[in-house]
Symmetry: C3
């Protein structure tokens, strides 16, 4: 129940982020809805396709469809007010990637895959909704462009998950600690402006 | 037989639209062929992947491959003449989305999915060939940019389909009426220049 | 063993090409790794999804993951030196597409598909890693833009494969000859600057 609530919060956060991007691109109402939808379910869809879980998850659980539709209508209606929510959004978004990461890992384990592959699947679940959103909006995906700690938080949470599974700890506790690591790493990195190392520091052709 | 003929006409219309976009981008012959191909089969391919029907449909029925190949060669050869066909093209394209919408819905029903998901699958089948065409051509997909009634026609046809299924009407008749709704909505919207509501009317940051 | 070695060489070549594109776009370390990864495995992944082989191949064989990771780190570290390898790169890349083409064809045959579809799958395996790399980097895919002989080499190799299978020749020999045709066509085309015919020669609207 608690996890379900967090999952819904994560879905809402991703939906709002999709609506914002689509409206900045002046898309029509149908475009806004589609971009919101793929931002929220794109990562899980790609994960399901890669491991062969079909029909993909959102097709067999209408809750996601209703939540995304309602969140899209709400965000479009209150767009100018939504900026006040910016801090809450970062929190929801971080909860979203934390939860999606662990869900993706567990789907990989169910399919009997190697821990590295499971961590990749967790990261795909958390991050590729945003990647597909950016491709459809004709942008280089934001997680490739900025040096922000985003996918890295997912990977660290994934490593935590597999380390803790070696210990005699209840599975649900492992789930929550790993998710908390993703969320904490992301929030701490934003708060203290920590970023990935710059590959281009000593590059004589540096253009920026 | 009649439906098969319409399906082929739809495939030809989508192929011609793909060739036109690719040639405007000055792509090489191989690029033109690929763009024509994904425009014609991309929507159905995404639908099949999402519901787990593999190998995807066009791989197990060579008719599509031959038709697309022939239509591509013909369109490239007679490019300058093809502009005279513009009105017929709109008709074929509308027949194409009408038919593809209903085919997608029926595939969703076979997979035991919720009516909303079936309508989404119908819309994906009809519209995502064009979306993939635009992504490969490095454009924001045209159905997201314009306020034209396109996906909306598919959705209205899909709703009609499920309403009629409640009545004691033969399945083939339901199929044809729903397809006719898609086609009519599309043609009437083009004729009378009807569009989706503008989300940005009162937006102080409006850039256009 | 010999084929496995060639496969690894091909994977390394594709990884290096992905890293080069990503670093030219000034992507962050995570973006560079992802682009390298999709360049190396993207074509095979799309092939597996289309025919329903899931979990996709790289998820069940960790060798690819380790090789791509090591090749990415190496290429980033020695980026300025890697330009000296340019000639070897063309060779590796050509070996890569030759091998990937035949592997794709054989996967299609295992799925019981028509020879034309098998040749398409071989071409997809060889070429679509680069296509996905370019889409993620927000470029029109390079194989659609240039008139270079690339996909054409794969198609010619595929035709050779099916012609030779009519003869009483050992399967492994057919495999190697078809791969050699892809590699030779590609290298000869580069050496003698042979290209696809220009579709736009007599076009009055020609912009270039």
């Amino acid at each position: 129940m608690f996890l379900q609530t967090l999952d819904i919060l994560g879905t809402i956060a991703f939906t709002i982020s999709g609506v914002s991007v689509a409206m900045n691109k002046k898309m029509d109402p149908f475009g806004v809805l589609i971009i919101a939808f793929v931002t929220a379910v794109g990562g899980g869809t790609l994960r399901d396709i890669l491991i062969g879980v079909t029909p993909v998850t959102w097709m067999t659980n209408m809750t996601y469809v209703y939540v995304i539709f309602a969140a899209t209508v709400f965000t479009v209606a209150f767009k100018r007010k939504i900026n006040y929510l910016r801090t809450s959004l970062l929190l929801f978004d971080s909860i979203g990637i934390g939860l999606y990461t662990v869900v993706g890992i567990e789907k990989g384990l169910s399919a009997g895959l190697h821990p590295f592959i499971c961590i990749s699947l967790g990261t795909i679940t958390a991050c590729f909704g945003g990647v597909i959103r950016d491709i459809l909006s004709n942008e280089i995906p934001v997680i490739f462009r900025t040096k922000e700690i985003y996918a890295t938080a997912c990977i660290l949470g994934g490593i935590t998950y597999f380390l803790l599974r070696q210990l005699p700890i209840d599975d649900n506790v492992v789930f929550m600690i790993a998710g908390a690591v993703v969320i904490s790493v992301r929030l701490i990195a934003v708060k203290f402006n920590i970023s990935l190392p710059n590959l281009y520091k000593n590059d004589p052709n540096r253009s920026v």
